[in-house]
Symmetry: C2
Subunit: 332 residues, 2 copies
């Protein structure tokens, strides 16, 4: 690259930052930024692991089973199905844009994506495996042995490397370029006047107090049921399970509203089947507001502008097991 073209590029980048900063600086929501600084070999390895059911005892459940990237990064079930068809206690949150969360899981018990990734593998109600067994499976697969070496520059597989790779892949799962983000970036025709009215109502009614930032959520823990108590169908206690503080009971991480059109059903117990219902319950229980039918519809119309470009990649082909690979045990 010549000095001139370098300079031009730098100037253009500065100009873009200045323009976009100017456009949405006053808004409580910012556009999702494209992914930067990805370790590609590590993310490719993580993608395979994300789709590999051999990380479960049964050989049937992968990360993608409950955080399905064909379906908004969720399973679209109230609560998930685990090993031996066990019913999970909570709604599977979307993996999309989860790198922007202040912490992972509804109760925030994992500080980051890497810490989260090991959880379901060893959870007896989910993938029902152990980290040791999962690693022993991977160590027996020649294709993985090579790919871990390529990605980490050294021999050996351990759970730390496994979760590093899965987390790196998950960092790629952002959804930029929604129509709302195009509007934030200056394309005034990107959303309709009805959708814009929904956004104004969303701000004015106080929804943005918690659903703000690039992900419209994911940055704080709030009590479910501020104005009136929420009758949860789930036994989950929320943040208090992590902090031990009674004041944190029923505080859950505010979910992102990005791609919310795809991530039904809603709330930590999955009891709100539609966006209309979710907006109604949130208004009454959190904001002491009963939205009219038209207001509700406007907010829902706005929420649907938050559907971004879904992750787009080739379905990974997994390296085959060897004669030494421990067999899956689906029915034990």
């Amino acid at each position: 690259m010549t000095l001139h073209s370098k300079l031009t590029q730098t100037l253009m980048a500065t100009a873009i930052i200045a323009v976009t900063g100017g456009l949405h600086a006053a808004e409580p929501i910012q556009p999702i930024e494209p992914v930067k600084e990805i370790n590609l070999a590590l993310a490719e390895l993580g993608k395979k692991l994300y789709f590999d059911p051999r990380l479960s005892k049964s050989g049937f459940i992968s990360c993608n089973s409950c955080h399905n990237l064909s379906m908004g990064g969720t399973d679209n079930l109230k609560t998930s199905i685990g090993h031996n068809w066990q019913q999970g206690p909570i709604n599977a949150p979307t993996v999309l844009n989860s790198s922007m969360n202040v912490a992972q899981f509804w109760d925030g018990r994992a500080p980051d994506l890497k810490a989260q990734a090991g959880g379901p593998i060893a959870n007896p109600g989910e993938m029902a495996f152990t980290h040791k067994l999962a690693v022993s499976v991977l160590e027996s697969i020649p294709g993985y042995v090579t790919e871990f070496k390529l990605a980490f520059g050294e021999d050996g597989i351990d759970i730390d490397k496994v979760t590093d790779a899965v987390a790196e892949f998950e960092k790629t799962l952002v959804t930029p370029n929604s129509s709302f983000d195009r509007w934030l970036l200056g394309a005034k025709e990107a959303i309709t006047t009805n959708e814009l009215a929904g956004y104004e109502l969303f701000k004015k009614s106080g929804c943005v107090a918690c659903h703000n930032g690039p992900a419209l959520g994911g940055t704080s823990f709030q009590k479910m049921g501020v104005v009136e108590p929420y009758e949860a169908k789930s036994p989950a206690e929320g943040l208090s399970a992590v902090t031990g503080k009674d004041a944190d009971r029923f505080k859950f991480k505010v979910p992102t509203l990005r791609n919310v059109e795809l991530t039904y059903p809603y709330f930590h117990d999955g009891e709100a089947e539609t966006l209309t219902e979710a907006v109604d319950v949130m208004g009454r229980l959190q904001l002491n507001k009963t939205f009219s039918k038209d207001e509700n519809a406007q907010i829902v119309a706005f929420l649907k502008t938050l559907t971004g470009e879904q992750p787009s990649f080739q379905l990974p082909v997994l390296p085959p097991s060897s004669d030494n690979t421990p067999l899956p045990k689906p029915f034990e």
Copy 2:
């Protein structure tokens, strides 16, 4: 296209046919041909349906759950996991190259891919849904309503169109360009002398009597246990369940050996865990031959040259449900 270029193309095509015909005319195995005459809109729709768990009662099981295209078109389990974690009676055969089968299922009870595709949806032990309910789910999803209209040129969804689309997608799932096929097409360096020796042994020992043609199988039904009886772990009776003839008991469709390195475990009951074991059992029970360790290894080396290019496509993004979509019932 000019007349000249058309003519050149025709001449070249003829020359290729002549050359390849000449090269492998004498072999009992032919290369897999690339897919021709695909209805792209129909295949794209079928791909979505193939990955859509909403065709099951639970909303959790899709075609891809047991015929996983990341894993050789199988689930790599002895027998599959169905609704409510039911254990299936038989090993899931690979969907790869299944368009070349004379009939579908181990017992051939479906004449073609289209007839097969409806089976698992309505099987109480698999996806546990009904055709009527599956269609009602699809009819409630605006994205599907449009896409069916685009693909079929008319309004309306029925199970006939659903299975048409899935079958069209499955026609694309061929795996050309394995190293053995490159050898068949004239690239003599594509396989090693050891692999070639394995192929010669495979022919000389009689394996090709059943495992022949482009798919190395899929074209006939043969008794499992010709020389000595096979002690099956599966209750499946084979072809007799279709024909009602006692002479057809324990006759199963000869499975393809294409991508056999990926489609473990083996046999209709999935009881052979490795290729070494499968080759040994086949030799003794079908051919009255006990292969030495070296002979077995040579045949296995040959079999691994049959791994072709795996289907390569973007993970489909499924159209979201609407407020009217019937809810999945995973725990009823």
